[in-house]
């Protein structure tokens, strides 16, 4: 897209951004604000567009879950019809995965990686922006299904033959497939630009082993995106061709082939939705413990091995088909404990002995540790064939999933959100509302998803629109629905916090409100167009925590001065 100057980064470079060039077009200042945002090449704006869209969809798709929980609060309720219920869980599941958590995880990298490696821009910004448009088009397509006579209702994995033209007729499912293809392609493009930036566009002095932990998490994440997401495109292509030409895929082997293609994408995507938030938690824990992240090299190695292992466990989703190598996938799934254990050890090692400050991001990061552990350990359980045969397609799986992605990833997401919001907007969020949001979310999350383990053991199947009073599922379902209401209340508090902080603008954020350790805290809040300028030069980079180095150096100098 554009050529390199190839010049070393200079601490005094300023203002030579696309919008500051001379003579060949209007500057950003002359374009209306909306147009300048929608035609931007600034990685921060591209990321903020994606993050804002994902956050908005988080509320929309979350609302669908509230309807589901309302329906299941009592036996025999018919708030929505069975078909609508099927559409709700389909769009809730696929929306959260394809449109909310994955884009949020990748867009965090679009925002942070160039800043953290000292680059003035992202590689191929128009490709990243194209990725955003594809993602937006994908979201519109998926939701457009609700405007058709037949909603998309084949679940987020859309197994054939359920998703083919005979069993899912109409435009809803076709639009869903189109939307998934568009959104996934957009994410591949954004991931590739982030990876390229981390690998090739770093500032002088920023060696690979001086990249912050978050950037390493983004590298591992985007490697998985490049390896695994194309399989989803092939799978969706198969579905589309099967719907257009029903005679093409008639053998059952195609159905099993689809499952392999789908899960080859769908297991790694869990880690795509997890690693960047581990990176967030790592940065937050180190910052609010006032310490360097413990076991940096081991963490880097664990990210890379974890992501590689995660590419070879997809078959554990297919134990019940009898078409996967149980021993291999079970062994690989259990092996994941090793790199995961290293990451946990590093996180705990970071906070032990640190001077902990319990600000809102730190609370979310601390809660992530035990909550994700529940999701992770139950994941090992369901990756063991003898247990999986018992609990597959039950609410146990739903509980495991949500402990991984909500109690884990979403808590990491909020840790990162509260941590970098001041940097991105130049505004601090309200600390009291942040803490209220945290505590409500802890209660809501555990109240919603913990009873689902018991429901699964009791035999409640997933995706059923209702149940009978005699089934014995009533009490856990009621508790779960109350929990969902608390969860929703927490999100309202969160929305109020953002709205209040942005509208009133009472608390401007300093450049480094938290005593951060990585490069982005050396620049202004929000950062200038080229990330670093004469007023905010790149500090010397001697480790993966350059700002901590500077503070320690200053402290040593002060001591030396006093001593002399």
């Amino acid at each position: 897209v554009s050529a390199d100057l190839g010049s070393p980064p200079t601490s005094d470079r300023e203002g030579f951004g696309p919008e500051d060039r001379g003579g060949d077009g209007p500057s950003r200042r002359t374009r209306p604000l909306v147009v300048s945002w929608l035609t931007t090449t600034d990685h921060k704006r591209i990321a903020l567009l994606t993050l804002a869209t994902a956050m908005f969809l988080f509320f929309v798709v979350g609302f669908l879950a509230l309807v589901i929980r309302a329906q299941l609060a009592q036996p025999g309720l018919e708030i929505v019809s069975t078909n609508t219920y099927n559409a709700l869980f389909t769009v809730h599941g696929s929306g959260m995965i394809y449109l909310v958590v994955t884009p949020f995880a990748i867009a965090l990298g679009v925002y942070l990686v160039p800043l953290q490696v000292g680059a003035p821009a992202i590689a191929a910004p128009r490709v990243a922006m194209f990725g955003f448009w594809l993602y937006l088009a994908g979201a519109l397509s998926i939701f457009a299904g609700f405007a058709t006579a037949n909603y998309p209702a084949a679940g987020w994995y859309a197994y054939p033959p359920l998703s083919d033209g005979a069993f899912s007729p109409g435009y809803g499912e076709s639009l869903w497939i189109a939307g998934v293809v568009l959104a996934a392609t957009g994410m591949i493009l954004q991931a590739a630009t982030v990876l390229w930036t981390a690998l090739l566009k770093r500032a002088a002095g920023m060696t690979m082993l001086r990249m912050p932990v978050f950037t390493w998490s983004a590298v591992a994440t985007n490697l998985m995106v490049i390896a695994a997401f194309p399989a989803l495109l092939v799978a969706m292509g198969m579905l589309a061709i099967g719907r257009l030409y029903p005679s093409v895929f008639t053998q059952n082997s195609w159905n099993v082939g689809y499952q392999n293609l789908f899960w080859f994408f769908a297991h790694p995507v869990v880690y795509v939705m997890f690693f960047p938030f581990v990176g967030c938690v790592a940065e937050v824990l180190a910052t609010f413990s006032g310490r360097r992240f413990f076991g940096y090299r081991a963490a880097v190695l664990s990210f890379l091995t974890f992501s590689a292992f995660s590419m070879s466990v997809w078959g554990h989703h297919m134990f019940s088909t009898g078409q996967s190598s149980n021993n291999y996938y079970s062994l690989m799934s259990i092996l994941l404990i090793a790199p995961a254990g290293v990451e946990y050890f590093d996180m705990i090692g970071t906070i032990i002995g640190g001077k902990l400050r319990f600000r809102t991001p730190m609370l979310f990061a601390l809660a992530f540790i035990p909550q994700f552990l529940v999701g992770g350990l139950t994941g090992i359980m369901v990756a063991t064939p003898v247990i999986d045969y018992q609990v597959t397609d039950s609410y146990f799986i739903v509980a495991h999933w949500h402990y991984t992605l909500v109690a884990g990833s979403v808590f990491g997401l909020f840790a990162g959100f509260y941590f970098w919001f001041p940097k991105a907007t130049g505004l601090m969020l309200d600390e009291r509302l942040g803490k209220l949001h945290f505590w409500l979310l802890v209660v809501g999350t555990n109240l919603t998803f913990l009873p689902m383990f018991w429901l699964g053991f009791a035999g409640m199947p997933r995706r059923y629109a209702t149940y009978l009073p005699s089934d014995g599922f009533t009490t856990p379902n009621l508790i779960s629905s109350v929990g969902a209401a608390v969860f929703a209340l927490a999100q309202i508090v969160f929305a109020v916090n953002i709205q209040k902080s942005v509208r009133l603008r009472r608390r401007p954020a300093p450049d480094d409100p938290w005593e951060g350790q990585t490069l982005e805290w050396a620049t202004s809040s929000p950062p200038p167009r080229t990330n670093y300028d004469a007023a905010h030069p790149l500090p010397p980079i001697r480790s993966y925590a350059p700002l901590l180095d500077l503070r320690e150096q200053r402290r040593r100098d002060d001591h030396a001065e006093v001593a002399s």
């Binding site: 010049s7 200079t10 060949d24 002359t30 082993l209 390896a227 082939g257 190598s325």
Partner: protein, 160 residues
């Protein structure tokens, strides 16, 4: 940068080992092929990184396209094509317009090559883009008063 290429290469190699490990566990050729195909994709990306590094396309990139309207029109193209797959391929004819816009814009949005040849001094002091800006209220008032005084002096026959 050598390390960058090696990171991708090692990751691809580890995946290849894991893919081949399936042979010992009676993995089907389809499943092994699927995993190997992913390895090929990552290895291709790694080779592209290595190629770029050899060409010297390393380090912070200052020359950028100044806007991304081409991305929006390319996105519109993809949107029309995807909806055409759902509603009927006749819709694809509509994709011609955004395709043309994209082709026209892609080159024009790049900065001129001279920008890449600018010296660091020039980079630090970008040329000012002439911009028509409305005057601020104080300036507008001062200019208005100047005009009014000039007219008054002219009416009085005084030199202006």
């Amino acid at each position: 940068v050598t390390v960058s290429g090696h990171v991708v290469g090692l990751w691809a190699t580890l995946n290849l080992v894991l893919a081949l490990g399936l042979i010992a566990y009676d993995g089907s050729p389809f499943v092994i092929g699927l995993h190997v195909a992913a390895v090929v994709l990552v290895a291709g990306f790694g080779l592209a990184v290595r190629g770029a590094a050899r060409r010297g396309a390393v380090g912070p990139q200052l020359r950028q396209p100044y806007r991304s309207l081409a991305a929006a029109s390319a996105g519109t193209t993809a949107f029309v094509i995807a909806w055409g797959a759902a509603y009927g391929t006749w819709l694809w004819i509509l994709a011609i317009y955004p395709v043309i816009v994209t082709i026209l814009l892609v080159g024009r949005e790049r900065l001129p090559r001279q920008a890449g040849e600018a010296s660091p001094d020039q980079l630090a002091r970008p040329r000012e883009v002439p911009v028509e800006r409305p005057p601020d209220p104080a300036t507008a008032r001062r200019r208005g008063l100047e005009i009014a005084h000039r007219r008054r002096r002219r009416r009085r026959g005084e030199a202006t």
